[in-house]
């Protein structure tokens, strides 16, 4: 059947209570009882939870065919842990696993042969890139993959839609009891926000680290009371890829111009006042927005109350210069932000549920004034695609995109109109990740388009010298340069479901026919 965005969702996928997308806020006041883990009590005192190896932990946790395991992605492309665990599982011959990861990328390419041989038959993830993206796009996974938002993953676990049998939590440090953290280790990733829900809802929790500190290893976002086993390995990851050095700010004039216009949008809308809240991404233009905000903040003599998100150096710098009162961190993108969450008071680690879960009693995203996001494609209904390339291949991640877009009072997309020969603004996106009703402004190098539904924003921006343009005109310009692309062709086979944050299906990805 068709969902409210007119996207066809095959009926056979609508089982076990799965519904089609009915609008970004359709599940307001939805009531449910939270899932709960099966806990094996540790009544006797004194036992260390250290086990000798990953294999021993897997055996003791009782991992069997058909179970669900989980990983987080705080070690980013430097992650060794997930690959190591999967290699051991593969050697042990365990099959038919459902992998519930917060994101998968380059570091997890060893999963591809395991997808092909039936070790892994189901996947839930936010990001899918590179080799895994290709394998999923080509339909190599037995069941369609679930593409989930960061908030949606927490929701899926808390509602019991996904029940994790064994969670493998890579940690920069831990003590022998399992008090684990992204700090105080040899390879710090800063925070463990995404692993919080795994620790609290998985039946068995295995912490894997290369740094064992004396008890108590505090502060510990992952707490010993939730942990069954601790494994020490030689190295959890490649430090150069866990957190990059300070990202260089772009010198690309187009990106700078877009960033400047984006900052102008922010500065001229009603929420830009003392104590405003703000989140931005790590892409070139979004990153540069922060530097252009400062002069406006100086001029108005205002400060940002809190900045959230994947934290990056420019945000840390503004925070240290006194432009931001508090930083709220669910992911540390670079070394300066890892160091800051380690050292700075008023820079706080939060869980992913606190960050973005749509089905708790109020995640921080709901209180954002502004979020600046990127896009692979935007259509003339303002729907955004950040998952599927214009060639049909899965190559992106919703991450917190739909969560923050739905939550923020003003959601701004910054993207060049054309990338190489592909237009970003088009009549229809290849697949919808973020519904247009939650997208307010699109800033491109050819002008700024405001969602006509946001009359308040349009009115405010008409008073400025911003180059306002309609989204249809942007699509026209893009087409005049790139031509109208031939429609992609797909087989009927659905290779992935794009789940909206509330658990409904916003779109599906079918296997592309490659020519």
């Amino acid at each position: 059947m068709k969902n409210s965005l007119n996207r066809e969702i095959p009926d056979e996928l609508l089982k076990d209570g799965i519904e089609v997308f009915q609008g970004a806020y359709a599940r307001e006041n939805y009531e449910y009882k939270k899932d709960a883990p099966t806990v094996k009590a540790n009544v006797a005192s004194g036992d260390s939870k250290l086990v000798d190896s990953i294999k021993a932990a897997i055996e003791q946790a009782g991992l069997k065919d058909g179970m669900t395991i989980s990983f987080h992605h705080h070690l980013r492309n430097g992650d060794y842990v997930c690959a190591k665990v999967m290699d051991v599982i593969h050697e042990m011959g365990i099959k038919d696993l459902f992998v519930c990861a917060s994101s998968l990328g380059k570091a997890h390419a060893n999963m591809v042969p395991m997808i092909e041989d039936g070790t892994v038959t189901g996947i839930s993830t936010s990001g899918v890139r590179d080799e895994i993206g290709e394998a999923l796009s080509m339909g190599k996974l037995k069941h369609p993959a679930w593409i989930r938002t960061h908030g949606g993953r927490v929701r899926a676990i808390e509602t019991g839609q996904v029940h994790i049998d064994v969670a493998f939590i890579a940690a920069s440090s831990s003590d022998v009891l399992g008090n684990a953290s992204g700090k105080n280790g040899r390879h710090d990733c800063g925070v463990l926000s995404y692993a919080d829900v795994d620790a609290k809802y998985a039946d068995k929790v295995v912490v894997i680290t290369d740094t064992i500190n004396p008890v108590p290893n505090f502060p510990a976002p992952i707490q010993a009371v939730d942990v069954d086993y601790v494994v020490k390995i030689d190295q959890i990851g490649d430090p150069a890829k866990i957190a990059s050095g300070a990202l260089r700010l772009t010198k690309d004039v187009r990106e700078l111009k877009m960033a400047e216009n984006c900052a102008k949008v922010v500065a001229n809308t009603p929420w830009f006042k003392e104590g405003f809240s703000f989140q931005t991404g790590a892409g070139g233009a979004s990153l540069a927005v922060t530097q252009f905000l400062k002069p406006y903040m100086d001029e108005r003599d205002i400060r940002m109350g809190w900045g959230m998100g994947g934290i990056t150096e420019p945000m840390v710098q503004m925070f240290r210069e006194g432009y931001i009162d508090k930083l709220i961190n669910d992911q540390a993108f670079d070394i300066p932000s890892v160091e800051s969450v380690y050292n700075d008071s008023n820079h706080f680690e939060i869980s992913c549920s606190q960050y973005a879960n749509p089905m708790n009693k109020g995640a921080f995203v709901n209180y954002l004034d502004y979020v600046i996001l990127g896009a692979l494609e935007v259509d003339t209904d303002f729907n955004v695609n950040v998952v599927q390339g214009s060639d049909g291949m899965i190559q992106g991640a919703p991450g917190g995109h739909p969560d923050t877009a739905a939550g923020a009072k003003c959601t701004i997309i910054v993207a060049p109109l054309i990338r190489s020969r592909l237009s970003t603004v088009r009549r229809q996106v290849t697949s919808v990740t973020t519904p247009g009703e939650t997208v307010d402004v699109v800033v491109t190098d050819y002008g700024v388009a405001v969602n006509p539904a946001r009359k308040d924003i349009l009115e405010a921006l008409e008073q400025t010298d911003l180059p306002l343009i309609s989204i249809e005109e942007l699509a026209d310009i893009a087409e005049s340069i790139t031509g109208t692309p031939a429609p992609l062709e797909f087989e009927d086979k659905v290779v992935a479901l794009i789940e909206y944050r509330d658990g409904t299906i916003i779109d599906v990805i079918k296997k592309p026919i490659l020519k």
Binding site: V253, R254, K257, Y446, I481
Partner: protein, 297 residues
């Protein structure tokens, strides 16, 4: 589209689709699609074909489009001019112009092409780059060689080479050339443009040099990187005070004309009819910069 304010002229390799598809987004007043130095000898034909199709298919809005052709006496020149005219370029920039014959020959080829391709005869402008001592010494006769002449421009790389001069941060080696070119342009009633500033990361240096050439009377400057556009435009944008003063002068002079008075006092300063031109230019500069919305420009 032809314009009367030309603060920036951005060079772009005509061969590169990614560069020429939409350079107007950077906001330069003019772009110069280059068939000369930016294109390697083996790629001249493909660049010319690409240039033609770009000119035919892209709409650059109110950004003026120029084409830098190859040397007037090279075997590439005629085809370069024909492609540019057929495509509908606003003007042709002649490299290494040394005598008025360069202009005359260019004009002849343009006129032929205009007739061949059904463009209005006389609609394609010419700009000449002066890149050698001989060119600079002949600046006036070059500037006044044709009605099509829109401007002359200093091109400092070759000028320094042919002068055996050294590059200085303050531009001493260019002082005579800059002065002569500006004077020749004004004498001929056309515009003059300064050379590119090649130290891309040196924002302050670019600003200083732009202030210098503006004070000398130049209309604008060549640009090789879009990062430089905003700085140059900023230097050429009159201050709020200058805009107000210019408005007062234009209004006062118009008023006094009606009364038959030649000299008057505006904002405490003596002003006569000679001040009007500068005042109007300032208002035009302010208008293109978006700082002036009135209709006196």
């Amino acid at each position: 589209m032809k314009r009367d304010i030309r603060r920036t002229m951005m060079f772009l390799n005509a061969q590169k689709a990614s560069l020429v598809k939409d350079p107007y987004v950077y906001g330069a007043d003019c772009v110069i699609l280059d068939l000369e130095d930016a294109v390697s000898a083996s790629e001249k034909d493909s660049a010319r074909i690409h240039l033609y199709h770009t000119l035919k298919s892209r709409d650059y809005g109110d950004t003026e489009v120029w084409v830098r052709v190859n040397d007037v006496y090279s075997d590439l020149f005629v085809e370069d001019v024909r492609a540019a005219v057929a495509g509908g370029a606003d003007g042709i920039r002649i490299p290494m112009t040394e005598t008025r014959d360069h202009v005359i020959k260019t004009e002849a080829e343009i006129e032929k092409a205009e007739k061949d391709f059904g463009r209005e005869v006389g609609s394609t402008m010419i700009m000449a780059a002066l890149e050698s001592p001989l060119g600079v010494l002949n600046a006036y006769e070059i500037a006044s060689a044709s009605k099509r002449m829109m401007g002359i421009a200093l091109s400092a790389g070759d000028f320094r080479r042919t002068m055996h001069a050294q590059t200085t941060a303050t531009g001493e080696e260019l002082f005579t050339a800059r002065g002569m070119i500006a004077m020749a342009a004004r004498a001929a009633g056309i515009m003059c443009f300064d050379t590119v500033y090649t130290d891309l990361d040196n924002i302050e240096g670019l600003r200083r040099e732009t202030e210098l050439i503006k004070n000398l009377g130049y209309d604008g400057k060549s640009v090789v990187n879009p990062r430089q556009i905003e700085i140059i435009h900023d230097v050429f944008t009159p201050s709020e005070k200058d805009i107000r003063e210019a408005e007062h002068i234009v209004l006062a002079v118009e008023e006094s004309k009606k009364k038959g008075i030649g000299v008057m006092v505006v904002d405490g300063k003596m002003v006569d009819i000679a001040h009007v031109e500068g005042a109007r230019r300032n208002l035009k500069l302010a208008k293109v910069a978006g700082k002036y919305k009135g209709d006196l420009a």
